[in-house]
């Protein structure tokens, strides 16, 4: 059975990815910053012996290296760079630190580290395991808020971090295609998670089921497209 490595699996999209791939019988390597408090994820391990939890903060690159060493002999079919942060929210928290005139540049750098740099660090660190895997897929959860053509105002940290990771993944796609590795970035839609908020329309089950379908269809020959969860191509 295939193996998937999922970052940020304690809640939200990551948790749902873990749940659905575990239900399908995959070996699931799930990371969370604090496994001790990741109750829902732990419950999945109680139902399925093929799920394993690892402590990892993707912003800690030395920790990524240590995990890659620990999982050195694993064959990883699919890496899902799911862990991500939004930064301050004007809508819910009335927090203006992503708004013009109030931008917090330290926060911007933290968001870039988690959302943009860490996915590449994960890809670099786990490249041997992915090359050894059968399916050879690297997937990063991005966002339509990273679209330049469809840009809205504000949310400088989050939006730019997603645009930047799209660009970095485009380059990665070119570099790893000769190794037979597929790279993809997806917008999961606006989903009811802690990040997406309660006003979001989409349930995690729906978004993840759709994304699993798109992931299954990936091949290295396919062009690098910014996919929405429903299969539409989003503009860069």
């Amino acid at each position: 059975m295939p193996t998937v490595l999922i970052t940020g699996a304690s809640r939200g999209l990551g948790l749902e990815f873990a749940r659905q791939y575990a239900a399908d019988g995959w070996r699931v390597l799930a990371t969370a910053r604090t496994p001790a408090t990741a109750q829902s994820l732990t419950e999945i391990t109680e139902k399925s012996s093929t799920v394993h939890i690892y402590g990892l903060d993707v912003a800690d690159f030395a920790a990524i290296d240590r995990l890659a060493a620990e999982l050195g002999t694993e064959k990883i079919d699919l890496l899902i760079n799911n862990a991500g942060v939004f930064g301050p929210k004007i809508s819910e928290d009335k927090d203006k630190r992503q708004s013009l005139g109030h931008i917090d540049y330290d926060i911007w750098q933290q968001v870039l580290r988690t959302n943009t740099l860490a996915p590449l660090k994960m890809a670099e660190a786990f490249l041997p395991q992915i090359e050894a895997g059968g399916q050879k897929k690297i997937v990063t959860i991005s966002s339509v808020m990273g679209s330049i053509a469809d840009a809205a105002g504000g949310y400088y940290a989050y939006g730019s971090s997603k645009a930047a990771v799209n660009k970095a993944m485009a380059a990665l796609a070119k570099d790893v295609a000769p190794m037979g590795i597929s790279v993809a970035v997806f917008c999961p839609g606006w989903v009811k998670t802690d990040l997406g908020g309660s006003m979001a329309a989409l349930e995690p089950e729906e978004s993840i089921a759709a994304l699993k379908g798109l992931i299954a269809a990936l091949t290295p020959e396919k062009p690098f497209v910014f996919y929405r969860y429903n299969g539409d191509a989003l503009p860069w």
Partner: protein, 239 residues
């Protein structure tokens, strides 16, 4: 290469069908309630070099059926085989015939049997209709049973199971009529009384024989056969 979607692939007919179609070079979407625990199926998939993929779905979970369809959106399905089914809360070896007797109806059991054998297959057909329509072969097959035949009922009993299979025959007949325009073939298929977990050790045939027979019938099925109650050995059965 053609694609077959099979529900209830963990064991019995579902497992046999998955194995035989994969050996024949088909792409097999093998669905079951608990892929994580389906040891034999996992082993089969591991040996099949990607030809068999496992998908979690429970026929009584209509929302999950929709989720599965979402996941498989755009994937043509040449043959949809509604194989998953239950006979009751106990199978033949466990004492089924003592259940489902007149005066002893367990209506929770009725619900399970109807949901699994009738509503689930209906939902699967509706949810996957575009996948089937987009394929070359366009076949929807539901495993029913001769036990659902009115004229062949000389035995009595087995109320919930009989009702579910007769009703499944009814929906396949309706589907055949409704889907004819789109060139889609719908057939209720009697698989034979086989030595599976459901059929028990005293059943007539080996599941591999039933599965091979069914695959032959399915392969030769045309719109002429749509809406007819067929059996694994090629016979046409009376309603």
């Amino acid at each position: 290469m053609p694609t077959v979607l099979i529900t209830g692939a963990t064991r019995g007919f579902g497992f046999e069908l998955a194995s035989q179609y994969a050996a024949d070079g088909w792409r097999v979407l093998a669905c079951c309630r608990a892929p994580a625990h389906a040891a034999a199926l996992r082993k089969l998939a591991d040996a099949a070099a990607g030809a068999i993929t496992l998908h979690q779905v429970d026929m009584t979970d209509l929302v999950r059926i929709e989720g599965l369809a979402l996941e498989l959106q755009g994937q043509p399905v040449d043959v949809l085989i509604n194989n998953a089914g239950v006979i009751g809360k106990r199978n033949f070896d466990e004492g089924l015939l003592d259940d489902q007797m007149f005066g002893k109806s367990d209506f929770a059991e009725w619900e399970l049997v109807l949901k699994t054998n009738l509503l689930g297959p209906m939902k699967m057909a509706e949810a996957f209709i575009e996948n089937v329509a987009a394929s070359e072969q366009k076949k929807i097959i539901t495993l029913t049973s001769i036990v659902g035949s009115m004229s062949e009922n000389n035995f009595g009993g087995m109320y919930a199971y009989r009702a579910s299979k007769a009703a499944a025959n009814a929906i396949m007949k309706s589907m055949a009529i409704d889907l004819k325009q789109r060139g889609i073939i719908a057939i209720p298929l009697h698989p034979g009384f086989a030595k599976t977990n459901l059929g028990g050790q005293n059943a007539d045939i080996d599941p591999a024989v039933g599965a091979a027979g069914m695959r032959k019938v399915i392969a030769h099925a045309t719109l002429e056969h749509s809406g007819h109650f067929l059996a694994y050995d090629g016979r046409e059965l009376p309603w």
